[in-house]
Amino acid sequence: MNIQDLLKLAGVAIIVVGLALRLRTTLVVVVAALVTGLVAGLPLFSHEGFFQHLPYLTKPGQTGVINTLGKAFADNRLMTLFIITLPAIGLAERYGLQERSANLIRKIRAATVGRLLIIYQLFRALHGLMGIRIYGHPSFVRPLIFPMSAGAAQSSDTDSIEKIKAANAAAENYGFFYPQNLSPVQAGILLVYGVMQGIGLTVSVWDLVKYSIPIVVASIIFAVAQFSWLDRALGKMAEAKR
């Protein structure tokens, strides 16, 4: 491996360092793309039209980094198509979408914290299946799921409550991360589709959904195990107190 090859990894380093420093993500990504292209010896622009007459900016026979960026960005517009759904979702929110969802959550009857969290996770999986993206921590977990689980808890000492809080947030994350891939037009599926297309492999979004099913099932089974274990741990903590 020679020095020029290693320099090509500069872009990867920029991503890691830039995001670790919490710099603006969009800027970090594009700087990484431009630097990678330039250290690999690609010109800024393709050698065509009036760019041919500009010194340094082009090289005959090579596609420019900015041309590649523009083409890739245009080819991947599909990933940002969800913007067209925002007016309807926004207006529905104004007319009580969150309130009615909260109402559904309030109807959950569960005997223990663990069972409540299992049902909540399935409820979030349903969102994923319908392609609805919600950041549930502030809208569902804090105002609804936490008071409901505190109410269902066998014991209310500070250690138990701390555990319940952690489990609440985890149920939201588990129910959001994996089932969102059940919808063929969600960001994760479309990102994979676009990246694979860019590498030259055409995949079907429906196949991506199909192969995410075993993962979603496993994500639910492992959660059921963890939340049942939580119930047992909380029961023991309550007993020890007595």
Binding site: T36, F73, I83, P87, R94, S183, S204, Y211
Partner: protein, 316 residues
């Protein structure tokens, strides 16, 4: 522009572009937004890219992308203040009841319906889903207007509110996919692949799958985001070392690799939105309490990803 028919992907892009232009005009007029000029320019430019990205020369689109990122990079993109009236909202919620779900459900229904119709007529079902998403969004707008008896202005303003709340990060997946394309053009993938081949024999499928899933989870935990890690791992490990040499189904390998990264998200303080912010929202004593709870789950599910990917390749 000869191939732009009504039910094409390009038509849906134009519709989305028009929506963005309307958002942009409203943002320019929004006196509660301290950065209304920068924000307006951002959404206007994105709208133009949506409408003309298929026909504009690539260098021009590329420069517009740089302009978008510069606006965001210099902090020129912001949002206006929205006044919400919880009493009125609760009243609306009571009046509409569960019918408020109808417009939201129209979107996935249209997505699936279009995909089925496209498949029935021998066209690309991927494209069908995306065209369905676009027309589903449009249909949902009409259903929503009818149901709430609001006007188009309120509709667009609510869309703009949501869009601005997410902000410039909206274009991140598009940028990351472009990063993947440039990595491929620059040969970054082959450098990473060569590095891995020095450690792992090219015919040891299990170790390669392990390296792929480990790389994905580690990279994700460094950057806090599976989307940023995927283009790097896909171009550097998955495709050159597993998919191509072993003739593996790329869809299967790709989606399993993506969620192998989610275990990294579950264990990383860098994924603040999912792990640190909730701990604060719930007023936990330990800000890493959520991560600690998630670690055993994340490790178990990660191991499952490794085994599943390896087994599915073995039996196919």
């Amino acid at each position: 522009m000869t191939n732009v028919s009504l039910f094409s992907l390009e038509a849906v892009y134009v519709l989305t572009g028009v929506t963005l232009l309307i958002f942009a005009l409203m943002t320019f007029a929004d006196s509660t937004n301290p950065r209304r000029v920068g924000s307006g320019c951002f959404w206007l430019t994105l709208g133009v890219v949506f409408m003309f990205g298929g026909v504009a020369p690539h260098w021009l689109t590329g420069l517009l992308v740089l302009f978008l990122v510069a606006l965001d990079g210099f902090g020129k993109v912001g949002r206006g203040r929205v006044e919400t009236d919880p009493v009125k909202q609760a009243e609306h919620a009571r009046r509409l009841g569960d019918r408020v779900f109808i417009p939201v459900l129209a979107i996935p229904i249209a997505t699936f319906a279009f995909a089925l119709v496209f498949r029935r007529f021998g066209m690309d079902a991927n494209r069908g889903a995306l065209v369905g998403l676009g027309f589903g969004g449009l249909a949902a707008m009409f259903v929503c207007l009818k149901l709430t008896r609001s006007d188009a202005r309120a509709l667009m303003n609510e869309g703009r509110r949501l869009n601005e709340a997410m902000g410039a990060v909206n274009i991140l997946p598009q940028l990351l996919a472009s990063l993947g394309v440039i990595f491929t053009a620059a040969g970054v993938g082959s450098v990473i692949a060569q590095g891995i081949q020095r450690i792992i024999p090219a015919d040891n499928l299990f170790l390669l799958v392990l390296a792929n899933c480990l790389g994905m989870a580690l990279f994700t935990s460094f950057v806090g985001n599976t989307f940023a890690a995927f283009p790097v791992i896909a171009t550097g490990v998955l495709v050159p070392l597993i998919v191509k040499p072993f003739g593996v189904n790329p869809a299967m390998a790709a989606i399993i690799t993506l969620t192998a990264g989610s275990s990294g998200t579950l264990m990383s303080p860098m994924a603040a939105n999912y792990n640190i912010v909730p701990a604060a929202l719930l007023e936990m004593r330990d800000q890493y309490g959520v991560i600690k709870f998630q670690i055993p789950y994340a490790l178990t599910l990660w191991s499952f990803h490794v085994l599943l990917l390896w087994l599915l390749i073995k039996i196919s």
